[in-house]
């Protein structure tokens, strides 16, 4: 399994009494885009946050380039090459656009991305770099959040709900960047509630249902029926009839 950059093995994570992630195993290969899909509360964000080091797993392992990183703090994982773009952007509110990128670049690894390179990727940024981030639109804030993670030059980029609260046209524009990021040698594990978007961009799809793996596959092989069932749980029409039978 030497071609796996990131491996998650039999991982379980609790939020208090609630088991948010239940025995999940997955691997991300170099240069791959893996999309985690699933409904609200399926455990997608928890999985990404655990890989980034913000949650402690109760059992299982997270391996990066073959070594167990379970004991490392989030900043140590950034130094190894794992960066998370957190749900809801989480930009530094008291800072300008450029300062946000500078914070991301402060402990950066060597690599293709610099603040200048991010400015080329998002050509509207240079003219607005002195603006506070609250003056930016949701899509622009999302772009800054991606830029802030990219300037650290990660090997694995974790993207949590890029589409949250954005207009469809903006979502499309943000996702159009994903292949360009991968072309720079970055592998991507993304979480998306918007199934169509996740399936369209990904090489492989991993569906979570109530913390467990409900489906794994490559988009061309998956029917929308299979995805629906994995996303919502039991087949809706079937569960209705069994419900009737029970009464």
């Amino acid at each position: 399994m030497s071609d796996s950059l990131l491996e998650v093995k039999e991982l379980s994570v609790y939020h208090g009494q609630l088991r948010a992630i239940d025995d999940v195993t997955l691997s991300l290969r170099e240069g791959e885009i893996l999309a985690m899909i699933g409904a609200n509360g399926a455990g997608k964000s928890t999985l990404l946050r655990t890989i980034a080091g913000l949650h402690k797993p109760s059992s299982g392992a997270v391996l990066f380039e073959g070594t167990d990183i379970a004991k490392l703090t989030p900043n140590r994982r950034v130094a190894l090459g794992i960066s998370l773009v957190p749900e809801g952007r989480r930009l530094f509110a008291s800072m300008t656009l450029e300062e946000n990128l500078q914070v991301g670049a402060y402990r950066a690894n060597k690599g293709p991305f610099s603040i200048e390179r991010v400015y080329e990727l998002f050509d509207w940024m240079p003219s607005r770099r002195k603006q506070s981030t609250w003056q930016l639109s949701g899509g622009e804030q999302q772009a800054v959040a991606i830029g802030r993670a990219l300037v650290a030059n990660p090997k694995v980029l974790l993207l949590d709900e890029l589409s949250l609260g954005l207009a469809p046209i903006v979502i499309e524009r943000i996702y159009a960047l994903v292949p360009e990021i991968v072309a720079h040698g970055v592998s991507i594990l993304l979480v998306e509630q918007d199934v169509a978007q996740g399936v369209a961009v990904a090489d492989r799809v991993h569906c979570l249902l109530e913390g467990r793996t409900s489906l794994v596959g490559t988009p061309p092989d998956l029917t929308s029926d299979q995805i629906d069932r994995a996303y919502f749980g039991a087949d809706i029409s079937h569960s209705n009839t069994t419900g009737d039978a029970a009464e």
């Binding site: 703090t73 130094a79 998370l84 530094f92 008291s94 800072m95 991301g104 402990r107 802030r148």
Partner: protein
């Protein structure tokens, strides 16, 4: 002329309050820790200046050369051990721990140095003053403390806005998790912020010891004034803290002019007025309250 003198004397005291308060403000802004031992730390700095510096043949005026770096180190270590441990539990624990620290420090000082008042000896300088008009006397020491306060706030402001480490401190203050995800070791950053806070409170403690007498229990009342300066100026604004300190100082001088008993009362009335009319403080942002 009397009124002008009130404003001048108030501003001079206010400089001291701001110097005293900026570390408190930094600890709260970045670590979200209300350091109830802040005042006692200043007093300890005063004792170190009085009792340790002479052993090293350092005159009182220059005692900061050794006390300030020493306190920066103490601040870093204390943060990385005791205070971080209590942050990891919950915010309420930090209050209990720093309160406990305050009690321990006061009683240790009483045990070792008794309740006698002490001053940092700066020789004849204490009596010198500038006399620009008939009743106005500007003490060189007070003027020096105000200048130091302005310089400290200015340097701190520049450090926070222009340097990489300063930006990381602001990043951690804004969103600790997002800062970690950007590669910041927030515990180390917390340590640096605490080191700066302790360095400034050491300066404040020495300044206090030069201006007046202090005793092991002097920390409490100064902590109260520091709180008031921070709240009047607005949490999270360094220059606000200076303005808050000066406003508090002027209010106190004004109260003292009417009746010496009203000195502290007038400051408290201003504090309550600001809380009632503009709870975010003169320079604070409304969002800081939420």
């Amino acid at each position: 002329m009397i009124w002008l003198n009130i404003v001048i004397q108030g501003a001079l005291v206010g400089g001291f309050y701001a110097l005293f308060a900026c570390g408190l403000s930094l600890m709260f802004g970045v670590l979200k820790v209300i350091n109830l031992a802040h005042g006692d730390m200043a007093v300890v700095a005063g004792y170190v200046a009085v009792f340790l510096a002479p052993h090293l043949h350092i005159p009182g005026l220059w005692s900061f050369v050794i006390v300030v770096p020493l306190f920066a180190l103490v601040g870093y270590v204390l943060q990385r051990t005791l205070i971080q441990k209590s942050i990891d539990r919950d915010p309420f624990t930090t209050l209990l721990v720093t309160f406990g620290l305050s009690v321990v420090i006061e009683n240790l000082l009483l045990e070792i140095y008794s309740a006698n008042g002490q001053t940092v000896n700066i020789g004849q300088l204490i009596t010198k003053s500038w006399h620009p008009a008939s009743i106005i006397y500007v003490s060189y020491v007070s003027l020096g403390v105000l200048a130091v306060a302005v310089a400290v706030l200015g340097v701190l402001q520049l450090f926070l806005s222009k340097t990489g480490t300063g930006r990381l401190i602001r990043a951690v203050a804004d969103d600790r998790e997002a800062a970690q995800l950007s590669g910041a070791n927030y515990r180390h950053i917390f340590g640096i912020a605490a080191a700066i806070a302790f360095a400034t409170v050491a300066l404040a403690g020495i300044a206090y010891g030069m201006m007046t007498q202090f005793a092991p229990t002097s920390g409490g009342i100064n902590l109260l004034f520091a709180f008031e300066a921070v709240v009047i100026g607005g949490i999270g604004s360094l220059w606000g803290t200076l303005v808050g300190g000066i406003a508090l100082g002027v209010a106190q001088q004004f109260g003292a002019h009417i009746n010496p008993q009203y000195q502290v009362l007038a400051g408290n009335v201003l504090f309550l007025l600001v809380l009632a009319v503009r709870p975010q403080g003169l320079f604070g942002k409304k969002t800081a309250l939420s």
